[in-house]
Subunit: 282 residues, 6 copies
């Protein structure tokens, strides 16, 4: 899957950290020293961001070798990226590359863990990351999801239909929504319409009214199971999404309970993966 920041965006990231020059390296005359830099995770990770790190060093003008692509697993101490050139240039690219690798490999690794746990509970389950990533870095946040084997739940507000209670409470509640669902569906025949509900009975109501997807918000896995069983023999093939509090530890249970999709923000917020960065003379 081709999914990378473009040159303009990479230049902006580099400029953010190095607006003019690297004062320390300059005072130490490091432009006169040839060196290499190596990035390797301290623990096994699913890599994300190595293409971006490669572009950073390439834009700086040093020779760069991308060894492990985004989406691949790297074992502990396995070098993921290597660059060599003037030590000043290496220092300029060091931290921004490391930050990208650590943050996004962290997200990718957690997504993969969640996906693997979920797969033990049920095959064909999709792990979706919410829109709850930090504003301004959607591109790499979604890349990290995909690198870990997940998907973006929604790219934003323009591409999909997800009706929250914050929506239907404004038009008279779930009952009213259910009455209007057929015309809403007819107005967007190429989209699936998702309705978020907070109880088993509401899920069944929404499904019977024709919701393509019922998103169960913060329900225990037993409730998911009840919804799943209730809808199993329905003529509608309603997709069941479970959202709210889903993590790597309960993903298997929710999957086993019959969810088709697990929607989570959990993967965005753990600690970054830890990468060892070695800079040495060549």
């Amino acid at each position: 899957m081709h999914f990378t920041l473009n040159h303009t965006e990479i230049e902006a990231l580099l400029r953010e950290d190095v607006p003019f020059f690297d004062l320390t390296s300059s005072l130490l005359d490091l432009s006169a020293v040839n060196a290499e830099i190596l990035f390797a995770p301290k623990e096994p990770v699913i890599v994300c961001g190595s293409e971006e790190a490669e572009k950073i060093f390439t834009l700086l003008g040093v020779n760069t070798e991308l060894i492990v692509k985004s989406g691949r697993k790297a074992f502990a101490d396995k070098t993921v990226l290597r660059a060599n050139g003037s030590a000043e240039l290496l220092h300029m690219g060091w931290k921004v590359s490391q930050n990208i690798l650590e943050h996004y490999s962290g997200i990718a690794t957690r997504t993969r863990a969640m996906a693997e746990n979920a797969a033990r509970g049920g095959s064909n389950i999709e792990i979706c990351g919410t829109r709850k990533h930090l504003p301004g870095i959607k591109h790499l946040s979604l890349k990290a999801l995909c690198s870990g084997g997940g998907s973006p739940h929604r790219l934003g507000l323009s591409d999909s239909v997800l009706i929250f209670s914050n929506h239907y409470d404004l038009i008279g509640g779930l009952e009213t929504l259910c009455r209007r669902l057929p015309s809403i569906k007819a107005a967007c025949p190429e989209k699936k319409v998702a309705v978020e509900v907070e109880s088993v009975s509401d899920a069944i109501k929404a499904a019977e009214a024709g919701a393509d997807i019922v998103q169960l918000d913060k329900l225990p896995n037993e409730s998911v199971r009840k919804v799943s069983e209730a809808l199993k023999h329905s003529r509608h093939k309603t997709i069941i999404a479970a959202a709210g509090g889903i993590t790597d530890t309960n993903a298997e249970t929710y999957a086993a309970a019959g969810a088709d999709v697990l929607v989570s923000s959990w993967m965005y917020f753990g600690k970054p993966a830890d990468f060892r960065v070695t800079i040495r003379k060549t």
Copy 2:
């Protein structure tokens, strides 16, 4: 402290989440419904990002009232921001505003906790956030630090001198660096020169060689105390910075051990603060 994203930047954040329109609100005809939106933390927080949320709703064209500014404490359930207008416009600004408030209030709240704990260990201690925030969102990351009573350790590579072992190992090690320190200092007379070290003896060497700041990397607090005592009667008034593994729980101990500055990335990575968002008809 005036520290906010400008209109161009706010527009880019909004466009990231709403590239064209809000499909769901449009299908539900929410432009015809007047409503108000309220943001209130579920737990007490130090607010960060309310000015940005205000700009988002103002750019959308709705009436907005900023109630709690960045840097101020908000108690649980205290409304921090309120806006009212068409429910479609409120939905367009909802998530990006909530994400900003939750992420950056989270950082601000953790920074404040760390600062308060550190203050119990020693007055006048400075809490600094590293450059380890996510690339692309430096502005709000630094604003969150300041909102919590911390400071940016360095804005980037161009504004300060911090010599890591990754630097001095390339020029012959700490000894060589110490010999070169006087001329380095003379080359940047308006800057303080910081040297990162990994042992008590190296710290003392660097201080005696004239480092304005010795940054102790991943040393236990007892080592900080030793360095502090060793340097107390020196003619140099060396600033002692402790870095690596500093969190809210050990900040007091490190402060009590004599550190002047605590350098940490800890505050960047916890869970976002939790805000309750209410949207209701008016």
Copy 3:
């Protein structure tokens, strides 16, 4: 539906036409003349772009009154937008505003014509504009579609699944695709999967294999009718989209033949609507 260019984008459009100043108005000293400018269509139109024109004049600093919003019908000679201020400023905003109003009202008007014709053939039919608009102006092109009562078929490549023969020919043809469809659908449970086909029999194959949408490319309306009848009693509720050569004149026939969605580029390319622009002293 809130759907407008933001200030940064409006400023760029104005700068494109007026990089520095209006040389002609300046040579004639028109800054000393107060005037008003009025925009009115010469024929009835569905308006699109009046919000953008309003922003242009507002950014130039003149008083502006938006009279007819995008999506509304304006009769011949009905003033849609009015601004008054220095004649120099009015001249600076004139052409770029007129161009926006004329081009996008043209698209909106044609889309509306197509939608009304289609509605005579069948209720609940959706008119979709393709991705064949000009690169660089997607935002207003999609706004014009929506203003005319249509929808964007796809926002781009990231938000939807549409499998062309250019795709499945690379993996072994339609048969192979049909075999793989269940696993493809499982991999994107929240999306509808559309398959483009070029014959009635292929349409039926794709539908039976589980395609949520079959897009019939350049088939005559009788073929659409055959597909529609064949699928009427299927357990799959396959959506039928007709694409290729659909215009306002045949929209009714295609709708009557049973298409649920008409996919067209036709509305993008006719002549702009014609607006009379009056500038007169006040």
Copy 4:
């Protein structure tokens, strides 16, 4: 003539259509398939945009061969551009490249037709495109004009002097303008001053008052002939531009009537050229 979008602009066009990834190609695992893509017109065209299409594929990282440059004629089925690489990357660049080639080759082809027809009416006649292209895409619109052998009439408001009745009506009408023309001309000695008029007599008045160019708006070709004959023996070598309703079919007549410049928007609005796009395994 070197006239192309730069990398930043090309990246923005690609990002507009592919904000993150190509979902369809990704679901079909097309990154594992090697293929080539070929673009060839179905009818003879004057090519415009092949350099931009080349840059799109090059930025995507595939091997690209530009065969027919902008401004050259391509016969039906002649391959204009070819690229080969992963089928996923080819699909990412397909539509945006095709849209550019089709739209701008369409404009170039119509401009060339108009220029050739005009040349039958009079040698040395210049075909100018107005500012009536779509806002936001001036660069390629002007490139298409030049590729077809035309010229931009004006780049925008800052580079030239063209006095419409919308200007001189504000200062007292054509008589007043004629009195002021000498001082206007003296104020911009390096520019030609053009005056738009709507009758033969006004054209002669403006020419006698010293207008370097008289632009005849929506006058029949007989009127152009009258102006041309009236001015033939004048000491002023007034340039005669004909504007309003000029198309490929009447260009010859207007040229034969004595116009030096034909100013038109006609070439901007026809149907795009039709290109066959072939994607096949390699």
Copy 5:
């Protein structure tokens, strides 16, 4: 003449100087102090940049009063702009506003001096600034010229025809150019064609070949007079531009010698105007 930076551009200038916050004002708690800032020239100047300074303070959120517009004369100690609000905000806008006012008022003032001197030598003489301003700041450089009563010689390479010896030497020299001039002129009938020459005889050759403008490069004023006299009775009304080494002190002489246009870079490079900035409590 309306000629200003837009909001996006102003925000970029402010961000360049204040990337995050004003550290000094923040340490001094100046946000708690209300103050006013006044800008007044120490010597009489032609003002340029007061609209931009006004926008800077307005964007910062303080009350601002623009007293003297660009293009107007301000006497010594006359307040040109005043703003009041929090002292922190005033400090944030201070230097960037002062720099704009000082640099561009400097250029405007020198341009005006040159224009007034030239006017003593001949009426209707145009003062043109070259393209030799600093890259990246063309907008305000040209505004300063216009504020001083001058004009931009050329906006850039796309809007005008100026043939240097660096051009015609590549095609066989001035003789060849003269032979080709008629067809060059026919190819751009709406532009004046300028030819730069370095001797009286070349000037006459170019004029006789039909150059609309002869630009005399680094010729003494006696040579300008000779060219002027030689061309006085020509049927061509050739415009004479003098370029190279023209300053305020020799502008009168060159004007008296018969030049119609003086082309200079001199105004760009003197010292900035000196403005007194007062910040005081309110």
Copy 6:
């Protein structure tokens, strides 16, 4: 020291001067002529901007050879940069490259002169350029300083602490500031605190209060000497910066008087260096 504009920024500079095409070169068919362009200073200079000029020609697609890097001395007539390719492309890059080389080499050359003069007065003296460069071109202005052996005094308002009288007058004057200095210093332990003063006695007061740097504004060199002597035996190692009216001619005297840092805007405003540009057929 690696310090250059990135591709996006270079493209913007080129676009500023060549928004669409080079009209003159196009009319002369220079795309058919192969040529080379050479840039050589007419007088010895310290080069600045050759990397940017190299990028300009490289982006235009011509072969480019960078011969003298920024920061190096070039003797008169020494070629600094050479490019060869189509004469049209060379003309497109000519002026913007020349302007960059001339302006910034001028600043670099003056900075070097000042640094060399200062070095005769005292070793280890730092030459700093102020924030008084033109807004919008900070990057290359600072690069020019560094190329000449100077430094930026401050990057902007966010990176350093410099307390002007415009600051302390708002809080009660220098006395109040001195009382508050210890707590101000404690609040930014990693920064040096500079205080600008206008008399010898104030300098001594500020130094005794703990200012790390006293910046003497517009004081004669005898006053600098007095401050220097007064502070020589102080326990504080106060840095003495002299600012206001410092030029190449008095730099030596100020250095000899005991200043550690000379702060100046003088280098920004002289005439550009003069480069001979040769374009010749190849």
